[in-house]
Structure formats: C-alpha cells, structure tokens
Symmetry: C2
Subunit: 228 residues, 2 copies
DNA sequence: AAAAAACTGGACTATTTGGTCAGGAAATTG
DNA sequence: CAATTTCCTGACCAAATAGTCCAGTTTTTT
C-alpha cells in the first residue's frame, strides 16, 4: 500500500522496501534487521507508555542499540511513531477484503469477526498503540480516519444496507453494526489486563480467543436476525 | 465508598470529604474549589497525554494556579492521578445497582446498557483516562480489577446464569456478555474521534447517544434471545 | 487582636530529555 | 588497494521537568 502517514518529510532514505518483516538477514544487510528491531522495540514502548512518555533511550535499550544509532535510522522520535502508524494502517488495510452484495451476510460477518479477533490476538501491541492514538485525539491518524477509514466503513455499510433492503437480515444501522464489531473485538487486545483480572487468569490461551470469537459471532449474528 | 486507590500515604490532609463537585463556594472555602479545579484540569491533561507526558505545569496552567500551589494540594504528580482514579472507580461503583434473579432480564440489561452509554456521554474524559490506565497495563488499578471489579462482574454473571438456567434467555457466556456491553458502550467515549471522523460529524449530539443506546439494546437483547 | 494554621508564588536544583555533531569504522567502489 | 561513500557512535548541550524551599500573605481559631 502507499505510505501516507508521515507528515514531515521522508524519514530517511530507504534502501530497501519496508513492511515485509522477518526477511532472512543477508550478510551485510544489517540495516533491515536494525530497522526492524527499532520498530519492534518502539511498538512495545509506545504502546506501554504512550508517545510522550516514551524516551528514545528506552527504545534504544530495548533494541540493543545506542541511542545515536536509533536516531541515525529515524531522524527523530516522531518519525519512529509515524512509521509504526503506517505499518499498522497498512496491515489493517490488507487484512479485510472487499465484501459484495451477493455474499452471504452470515458468513461474511462471521469471518469479519474472526479476522478481527485474530488481529487482536496476533498483534495486541499494535492494537493498543492504535487505541492510544485514537483516545488521545488521533493527532497523527486524524486525516486517515476521515478519508481512508471512512470510505472503508461506508463501503461496507452500503453492502450491509443492501442486505437489509433485500430482507436478508434485520434492519439494524449498518455503521453502528460495524462499530459494534470493531469495538467488541478490539477490546480483547486493548483491555487484556482487565479481562484477565476479571477472569482470574494470568494469560490468554488460544482457545480463549476462539471462545470469544464464537461468543461474539453467535450473539451478533442472532442480533442481526441471522441465526435462530 | 471507601478510598482504596492511593498506595503511598495519604495524599494531603483532607479537611472536607471529596467527591462532591460544584459545591457552592462559601467565602474562605477556597480549598474545595481549588482542589476541584486541579482535578478537573488534571483529568483533561492526563486523558489527553497520559500520565507520563502530562506535566504538573500544564495542569497548573489549566487550573489557573501556580505550579507550587498545585504541589501544595497534592504533594506530587502521582497523588493527583490516584485521586482521579479513586473518583472514577467511585463513580462507577455508585452507578450500577445490584441485580436480582427475580428481575426481568430484558429490562435489566437494557437499563444497564443505557446507564453505561450515559456514563460515556457525561464523563468522556474519565472514561478515556480509565482506558489509558488499562491499556498501559493498569499499574494503579490492577489490584482493584482483580478484587472489587472482579466480584462485581462475577455477581452479575451469576444472576445472568440463573436466568439462563431458568430458560429466560439464550445460553450465552455471562461474563462475555458483560464484556460485550462494557466494550461496546465504552467505545463511544474512548474512540469518539474515530466515530466522528467515520460519520463525518464534528461532535456528538444527545440523540446520537440515544441512537447508539437503542441500537446496542436491540442487537444485544435479540442476541440473547430476549427479543423477537 | 493575637496566635496558629492554611495558603501562595518566585527562585532554585538535580536530573532527564530530544537532538546534534564530529570523527571513526566498515563497506563499497574504481 | 586506495579512495569514497555509507554507516555508526560517544560526547555534548540547551531545554524542560518534578519537586523543594521559604518568606511572605491570608484566613481561621482562640
């Protein structure tokens, strides 16, 4: 996808295309690996402390690099943050395919729910980082929200509305439905600590996510008149 | 309710009971008014920047007081944060009454949803502050989550289970149901910017919340087999 | 009205922060 | 192999920060 997030100027000369992780580190190609390390460290730090309270030094320590090296790759703290946001939005964009009016509402919604829960499971840090950004007023992503993401939602909402008009599901507000799915799934990553505390567990198992996805699917589908 | 949050030592001598806002300022009772100003300013700043990135100076500026004065009322930054968390948990505790097995499931759930949406509407900053705390690992509230809040949820879940056993609603996981309601309602405060951007509005109206509450009620009740 | 308590605010400090920079190491190239 | 380009880093700095201190002022109590 195209890079849209970085407002200032290009972050640093990119010798290789970014975005594809875990590439086998070819000798002499330290660069990619370091960049990746920094981003992973930054994701952890930012999602734990927020942008303002994260120090470049802590990112550097976690990445096992000297601070000046981190600032060599990303000329300043904001650029690291932008790069992360970019990655996150990219991943989110790739994940969910188009939906068609001909598709089956039940299967489509179910697979959307599962995909979103899966995203919470596999990328909890990214999810939390996104949540922090939004809660704090989306200083970086505001534009993205009112363009790309808005169109994304409107397109899906349109199809859902067609399903409703065709009498294939109950008449519920499509945008609200998307928000409901979004929030209830996102929750499993963002409020992990709360859920674990309430359920008296120390960590999620894979089947917890399975269970959550099944629960959400059954309630929401029934709530949309798509199950008995 | 009892004050449980403040871990260190008592914050400062409290001459009057806190928690009750907007008391008419009696002459000479500057204290309450200043305390309140500071807490309101801090709520705004913390919920916008998180704990670490909020400076005492900014709180002071917003409260219209000199920094040293703020530090006179609250001996350090943490104490301000604790006081806020305390208020938030207190409000949350007061808000939701006990539920009984004899109650009607549909009405009870509906009024819970409405109350929670209402809380998002009237106290968005508190909601976001709570969300920030949880996302960042609940350093302050962790204990509270695994005791008070856990019991709160378990008690409600027990009643819901009784409803299910009595065949008064569909067999859904009660804890998951509470989480679903929690997350979907909380969302309206926490992700306000995202929702506004997606719906292309500049601010919520009262009827937006009404609409949201109605939507959630209808889908979730139907999802629990509590509506046709 | 005097003494005590509560409050105010400017000056100060030790520490931390983001970011710069000059020069050295390593790789690449001719 | 030498020249050139790329990559890396320790030392440094100006700005900002949480919190202290204390001398003075206002309010409350006696």
């Amino acid at each position: 996808m195209t890079r849209q997030i970085e407002p200032d100027s290009p972050e640093t000369k990119r010798t290789t295309s970014s975005g594809d992780k875990r590439k086998k580190v070819r000798p002499g190609r330290i660069r990619e690996r370091n960049r990746e390390r920094i981003l992973m460290a930054a994701e952890k730090e930012f999602s734990q402390n927020g942008f303002g309270a994260t120090t470049v030094q802590k990112i550097a320590d976690r990445a096992g690099l000297p601070k000046s090296n981190v600032l060599y790759y990303f000329s300043n703290k904001k650029r690291i943050y932008y790069a992360l946001m970019d990655d996150i939005m990219g991943r989110w964009n790739e994940m969910f395919s188009k939906i068609q009016p001909e598709d089956d509402p039940a299967t489509t919604l179910a697979s959307f729910i599962h995909a979103k829960v899966e995203l919470s499971r596999t990328h909890p840090l990214a999810s939390r980082l996104f949540a922090l950004e939004i809660i704090q007023g989306a200083p970086v992503l505001k534009d993205h929200l009112s363009t790309t993401m808005r169109e994304w939602v409107q397109a899906r909402a349109g199809v859902i509305q067609q399903w409703i008009d065709a009498g294939r599901m109950a008449p519920v507000d499509p945008v609200q439905l998307i928000l409901l799915i979004w929030s209830s799934t996102q929750h499993y990553a963002d409020f992990q600590v709360q859920i674990l505390a309430i359920e008296d567990k120390s960590e999620y198992t894979e089947s917890d996510f399975q269970h959550a996805a099944d629960f959400l699917t059954s309630v929401i589908l029934r709530g949309c008149g798509l199950a008995p």
